[in-house]
Point group: C2
Chain length 280, copies 2
């Protein structure tokens, strides 16, 4: 999905919500545990009940890999199920990959090349530590995106991302300004945690046009209002992710209904922020 399509989708659905499919099998509602593939059944119902409020889904690879081959099978079925909706949602592999060039090229095939791996996502999250040649191979796939970690939502972000260099530039600022030249705002996004909303103004000075994928609203405590205030640009430029607060809104048979309600609640908040900024 290209940038123009994504922006149209946001305007049509009046939402920049991304639902994180962190589908932890120990949290799947009990009544699904007798089905053939409880995680797939869960994802299917979550998708059906949230698709009208959501512009993106973000399966978190760790939760599938933790179950080995069975988990990857659940992810595969989820991606197959999503095919009917591919014009209606952007799909991000939250995989945090990144390696030397010839290895990153293999990861690109793993996540973007259906013929090779059976999987085709629109985007993948990547770690910047290994530099340009670790990200470049993903950018060679037309219409595909990298989402580079810039400033993450966790406590550990303080360890290195906020380190100040001899020019008084923080590492995450250096990552933004350096890597923004590797691709363009048509194929590169950045992860910026909602728990760091106060830094969005500085971030927007470095990457005014890029989309930002913002996790940390919901279970991690970030504020959507703050994120919208400092993060929205003329094209919206945000995908705000919520995972646990939506998909585990209820652990009962009404889980999909409750997930839909929570997604709707967030969509309405987002619609308001889009109107305030004059984007819709």
């Amino acid at each position: 999905m290209n940038r123009e399509h994504l922006i149209q989708l946001i305007k049509r659905k009046r939402s920049y919500l991304c639902v994180g499919l962190d589908s932890d099998i120990v949290k799947i509602p009990q009544h699904l545990m007798g089905t053939d593939d409880p995680v797939f059944e869960f994802n299917k119902q979550i998708i059906q009940s949230t698709i009208q409020f959501t512009v993106a889904y973000k399966p978190n690879l760790a939760f599938y890999e933790a179950r080995g081959l069975a988990g990857m099978q659940s992810l595969y079925k989820t991606m197959q199920f999503l095919e009917q909706y591919r014009d209606e949602c952007f799909v991000i592999a939250d995989a945090k990959r990144g390696d030397i060039g010839n290895t990153s090229a293999q990861y690109a095939h793993a996540f973007f090349d259906k013929q090779s791996s059976g999987f085709e996502f629109d985007a993948i999250t990547v770690a910047p530590y290994m530099g340009e040649d670790s990200v470049g191979p993903f950018l060679k796939f037309d219409g595909k995106w990298v989402v580079i970690l810039a400033l993450t939502s966790n406590k550990g972000a303080n360890d290195f991302q906020l380190t100040v260099d001899h020019d008084n530039t923080k590492l995450f600022e250096n990552v933004l300004s350096t890597s923004s030249h590797w691709g363009t705002s048509e194929n590169t996004m950045y992860v910026v945690g909602a728990t760091r909303a106060e830094m969005l103004t500085a971030i927007r000075k470095i990457v005014p046009d890029h989309f930002l994928l913002v996790p940390g609203v919901g279970a991690q405590g970030g504020s959507l209002e703050e994120v919208a205030k400092y993060g929205l640009n003329a094209d919206c430029g945000l995908l705000v992710n919520a995972s646990r607060s939506i998909i585990f809104a209820s652990s009962q048979p009404d889980f999909a209904l409750k997930a839909g309600e929570e997604a709707h609640r967030m969509q309405q908040q987002m619609e308001l922020t889009l109107k305030i900024k004059g984007i819709i």
Copy 2:
């Protein structure tokens, strides 16, 4: 496998060679392509012909994930085959993972918890960008190791890893000194590229006791002699990886024999360096 066991293994085999199983299906010898699982068949023969010269194997996850579920099945079979040798080799998942705490915990189950995922490696490579809570969950598994990226062998290492902070410390030095307190030299190793051997002296000042996993000898052009000279410590403290130069030493039916010969050649070089340093 604990540190003491690994050191004994190195002394017994007179080798600190790690063979990288970057088993790219397009490079698998033609005569294997008719077998049920060519990548597994290839890995099996590579392991059989190199095990006496090798203390570690390092499957590179990208090459398996690129083939989707079929690739993960090849990796699964490879790990099953390796079970008979688990006292004789250390097995590293070269996966470069790292995410917020609850997600890294899932990755730890994916790579260390056989009951959960079917996979149990001794170690996993992790990216440090997200800080302590992204690495911590892996350290909770007794007898398991993290191998943290410090200074990588690729050109992109220059982009951020060599950035100098206001204290005149390079980022990779900060990663070494900071993260060395997250665990101990009993459960933490570092990736240091052989193409940066001149920096090993500085690195050994920061982490004198830790094992270093050194890729970049062989196809990437690093020198084993230089790595040994500056990197060996009293317990050896090195695992030097070669992938393509061993596993693809020949593309003919003699590939396993040639891989064994190349592994033997490197083992002999390593034995010499261990003797020079008085380690054996």
